[in-house]
Amino acid sequence: MEDLLPNNVMCNVLSRLPVKTIIRYKCVCKKWCDLVSDPNFVNLHLSRSREALMIFDHYKPSRPGCLMWVEMGYKALVQVKRLDLTDYCGFVAGYWLSQVGSVNGLICSAYHKGFLIYNPVLEECMYVPPPLQEFETLSYGLGVSMVGEYKLIHISHRKISLDSDELYAVEIEVYTLGTGKWRILGQTPFRFKSIKGEVDNGIFVNSHVYWIIHDQIYDFDLNTETFELFPSPPGDSGASNMKMLGVLKGRLSGVSWCWLGLEVWVMKETSWYKERTIKENISHLLDHNSRPLCLINGIDGTLLVFHEDELMAHCLDTNKTLPLNMKMCFDRCRLVTTYRPSFVKLGNFGLESVLADMYEDREESRKEYVHGRWDMFKHKHEFRLA
């Protein structure tokens, strides 16, 4: 029987459906099952994929925690999937996981023995070894360059004492997915007098990754692999108060706040524009206990997510606050990041072994995916038997 619609049209139609629906339709026929792995479909879907939230919830200090993939509905959040990281990638059981970032549907988490990169949609994960240099970590970043190379960046400080002064130099290492090894890019010319405060993970936009370190914005270009200072917004409430970076409608954005209110800046072309100033509604919430968590493109406009006792969002276009109806304990909820689901296959990268297992009894398919380096995953089975 001839098919009613040609492949490229079917790809076009399927790429417009929600992720769960696409996965469900894999069982329609073998062709549709394969269509989902087709690179054409993957790219089409990625270009249309809408942002969702990934909430990182630690429910016990000793467990890696779980990730909740949550979509922004019109009135409330809809949970799409809950990933218990212990079940998912058994070899991280017992370790504390911290989030590195998410790019094109791939999520990266760091733990003390290395990194984990996974795609929650395809349920595949991959192990990345820890960086070569053992200086104190400042921050991480994840991004993809213009030619499609996914890179993991590690920024650390190294103490260089000059006489009685203590100075710290910034060192960078990069891992390109598929190569299997870290490359030391070396010391940058930037120096700090002290290490103060935590540095948030890098924000990826347009093949650059940005961080705020000690009140300055730094930019790592993934194409040329250079690390430079990036201009901050002008004026009094510029970088000194710029506390959080994010991406709004494909542009680098930042939020700065002080007792006067909150300002949202957006980088257009080559300069910063103040997109919005918010004085009412949320200024009473801007104490150290409730800070904005992330910027996300919601359905009705761009949103700033933050939380008090429960997760709230402030719509920047209509200036209204929307409760997202998701209660969570502040101590547990450490991170909320944006996530765009995709069908990007980890197996396409190269040297690393990819593990795809949710079910114990799928021995056959597990063997298919893992090429070599079986020993690394051996202890997972030992742990389960215990």
Binding site: M1, N12, L14, R16, T21, C29, K30, K31, R362
Partner: protein, 203 residues
């Protein structure tokens, strides 16, 4: 320049661009004086000097449709045919029936005519046109997709694909198979395995 304007041009242009003369295409009035023509040219310089070509499209069942070039080139396929010089007499479209072709032409006409008007109003108008345009039965919708795909009209393809996506969103795999005439080539065990592997999506 005036020498090149023959009676045929004047006849063709007059009914479109000279509203004060209610001349029908078949009207015998051909005698414009030089001063009259010069006057019209000064009022409508670009329209009279440009040659608004029409293209003849021939559907699979032999019917012909005459459309403005601007409308016809909404289709990248037709645009390339014209550029390659294959469009002297008529363009045969063996994959498109007259029923579908007339709908496609209606769509392209609307989309070509609209952009110059008011921003907000035009947008709303176009949106409601598009919404009504796809209120057709399923087989016509699929024929429209195939035509948009063959003729390479991106906006129509996006519109129809989105309509189909909205239509199938809530269906079960079995209903999908019926809709698209797909044969289930999984054995029951294989299908069960696919469902099990992706259990989270079936919750």
């Amino acid at each position: 320049m005036l020498k090149n304007l023959n009676s045929k041009h004047i006849q063709r242009f007059s009914y479109k661009y000279l509203p004060q003369f209610p001349i029908s295409p078949n009207s015998p009035k051909l005698g414009f004086s030089r001063s009259q023509i010069a006057n019209y040219r000064s009022n409508f310089p670009t329209t009279i000097m440009s040659s608004s070509k029409t293209i003849v499209l021939r559907s699979s069942d032999g019917e012909t449709f005459e459309v403005d070039e601007a409308v016809a080139v909404e289709s990248q396929t037709i645009k390339h045919m014209i550029e390659d010089g294959c469009a002297d007499t008529s363009i045969p479209l063996p994959n498109v029936t007259s029923k579908i072709l007339s709908k496609v032409i209606e769509y392209c006409k609307k989309h070509v005519e609209t952009p110059n008007a008011d921003e907000k109003v035009a947008e709303e108008d176009l949106k409601s046109f598009d919404a009504d345009f796809v209120k057709v039965d399923q087989s016509t919708l699929f024929d429209l997709i195939l035509a948009a795909n063959y003729l390479n009209i991106k906006s129509l393809l996006d519109l129809t694909c989105q309509t189909v996506a909205d239509m199938i969103k809530g269906k079960t795999p079995e209903e999908i198979r019926k809709t698209f005439n797909i044969k289930n080539d999984f054995t029951p065990e294989e299908e069960e395995e696919v469902r099990r592997e992706n259990a989270w999506a079936f919750e």
